[in-house]
């Protein structure tokens, strides 16, 4: 009984690092990997991300949630060279990161941080895929997760994170 009590104490005082999405409902992990969660209008078929109850085109509450395709093409890109002002949180010290608009098969372009930070390795039209990435650790010691895109030709770099 004493040993059980001791074990309980350790668990409470040193909890395992908990993984928490930066915002609930942005993405989900299905059998084939991670997907962004969007919404599709039952009337006009437009798909938006993040998911929203109202269709921004029809202005009616006609949206249903749908997982978005994991792969798309790079529509435009830049590299963030300076540390953004608050509330930005990222790895320290700051490292530049790519930002792109990725056109997904559902007919929308999602803005996202890229795994690539070298603009000479980025090209409009190249194929990209979604990954779930560890962003930073919060005050409670939780690991915050977000989404990013990487070049398909780079392939998976860390199976445990991406799949």
């Amino acid at each position: 009984m004493n040993s059980n009590h001791h074990l309980y104490f350790i668990t409470m005082s040193q909890p395992a690092k908990k993984q928490v999405p930066i915002k609930e409902g942005l993405f989900e992990v299905l059998e084939d990997g991670p997907h962004l969660v969007g919404s599709r209008c039952r009337e006009c078929g437009e798909v938006t991300f993040p998911a929203n109850a109202f269709c921004p085109q029809c202005c009616t509450e006609t949206m249903v949630n749908v997982p978005l395709g994991r792969r798309g093409t790079l529509y435009s890109f830049t590299v963030q060279r300076f540390k953004p002002p608050p509330p930005y949180k990222g790895s320290e010290p700051f490292a530049p990161y790519g930002v792109g608009m990725i056109e997904l098969p559902e007919g929308l372009r999602v803005t996202a941080v890229l795994e690539e930070d070298d603009p000479t390795r980025l090209q409009v039209g190249m194929e990209m895929e979604l990954v779930i990435a560890s962003l930073f650790e919060d005050a409670e010691g939780n690991e915050l997760l977000g989404y990013r895109f990487r070049s398909v030709k780079d392939g998976p770099q860390d199976e445990s994170v991406s799949r």
Binding site: F49, Q80, P85, P86, Y88, R109, V113
Partner: protein, 378 residues
């Protein structure tokens, strides 16, 4: 609807002014406009204030230093379009017959550095709420599709800094060389530091009246022929955008606001003698030049190459130096464009005077796509 005229304009210079109080910056602009108008403050019947960073009731605080006259005072926050929104409200009040004279004013003392994101926005925490990032994404797209190059981005900044060197109210007031701009620090590829405008401090004010009053108090009345404020349609890329439709391509908010302004003023882009537009960055100047209709889509770089947008060109753009040279105090920038065009139409712009200017357009664009366009005629 009644015709609306500009009878007085005033500026507080744009720049950095140390410990100077933002309310005092606003007051100086208002006092300058009233002096220019030649009307007593007691004759002004309504006031509309645009500011983002000056805090609640900032317009009341400024006008308390000019005198308490009991008039309605509206405080408006609309990001980069705040001053344009104040102008629209004042214009509507006079046009609609609710008053015969109205004041639109705006002022700002902005924090240094890039504008911070909203603390509640998860995408800001992820690093996706940085204004130049969005300008850069649009710039890259324009370059990939229309043959616009880094050379063009440098040349826009060279032009606007050359114009700003002639403007005593601009922040920088000095020319910048091609090499200085082309070798400045990369901020968001392809945009470098000297291709981006700086948030700063400044104030601007405009006094509007009916035609009857204008004819009485000034020999150089300028007609405010249109003031449009639009928000975007579904299917356009705005600041910020987490996603945008790839299936629907709606006309941009700058396109719709410009069209509505031309229709209201009864002129077209070919009738303009100068344009002051939202050059938050070099690429934005080119993109808005097209969207305002000064050339076909994708042709702005060619217009620039031909020198058409210089002070002496066919359609001068940002003769004041634009935001690139003046800096951008959000609440004041739109009204300062109106001040510049008013001076130009009166022939009071000195070294940067556009010859025989008779028609000018102003344009601001800001967060979430709010866009204000006005047309001035003499």
């Amino acid at each position: 609807m009644r015709e609306v005229y500009i009878i007085g304009v005033g500026l507080h210079p744009f720049g950095r002014f140390g410990e100077k109080d933002v309310i005092e910056i606003g007051r100086e602009a208002v006092v300058a406009a009233l002096a220019d108008a030649g009307v007593e403050w007691k004759k002004v019947e309504a006031a509309y204030c645009g500011t983002v960073f000056a805090g609640p009731m900032a317009g009341n605080k400024v006008l308390a230093r000019v005198g308490l006259t009991g008039i309605p005072i509206m405080n408006l926050e609309n990001a980069c379009a705040s001053g344009g929104s104040a102008l629209r409200a004042a214009y509507q009040a006079v046009a609609g017959g609710f008053c015969d004279t109205a004041l639109a004013f705006g002022f700002e003392k902005m924090p240094r550095g890039f504008i911070a994101g909203n603390p509640n926005d998860w995408f800001a925490t992820m690093g996706l709420a940085v204004n130049p990032q969005y300008f850069a994404l649009k710039a890259r797209w324009h370059m990939a599709n229309f043959g616009t190059t880094e050379d063009h981005l440098v040349k826009v900044s060279v032009k606007n800094h050359r114009n700003g060197a002639l403007n005593p109210f601009a922040m920088y007031r000095k020319e910048m060389s091609y090499d200085e701009i082309a070798n400045s620090q990369m901020v968001n590829d392809p945009l470098r530091l000297l291709m981006l405008c700086a948030p700063n401090e400044g104030g601007a004010a405009v006094v509007l009246s009916t035609k009857e009053i204008a004819n009485r108090v000034t020999t150089k009345p300028v007609k405010l022929a249109a003031v449009v404020l639009d928000s975007p349609l579904y299917g356009t890329v705005e600041v910020p955008h987490i996603s945008v439709s790839a299936r629907v391509e709606a006309p941009t908010v700058t396109t719709t606001a410009s069209r509505e302004a031309y229709e209201a003023a009864g002129i077209g882009p070919e009738d303009l003698d100068l344009v002051e537009l939202q050059d938050t960055d070099s690429a934005s100047e080119l993109i808005y030049t097209e969207e305002i209709g000064l050339c076909e889509r994708g042709e702005a770089a060619r217009l620039l190459d031909r020198g058409a947008t210089e002070i002496t060109g066919r359609i001068p753009v940002n003769v004041s130096g634009g935001l690139l040279s003046k800096g951008e105090p959000l609440g004041a920038s739109a009204l300062a464009q109106v001040v510049e065009v008013t001076w130009q139409l009166r022939g009071e712009s000195g070294a940067r005077q556009v010859k025989d200017a008779r028609a000018g357009l102003t344009h601001v664009y800001g967060a979430y796509g709010n866009c204000a366009v006005s047309i001035l005629l003499r």
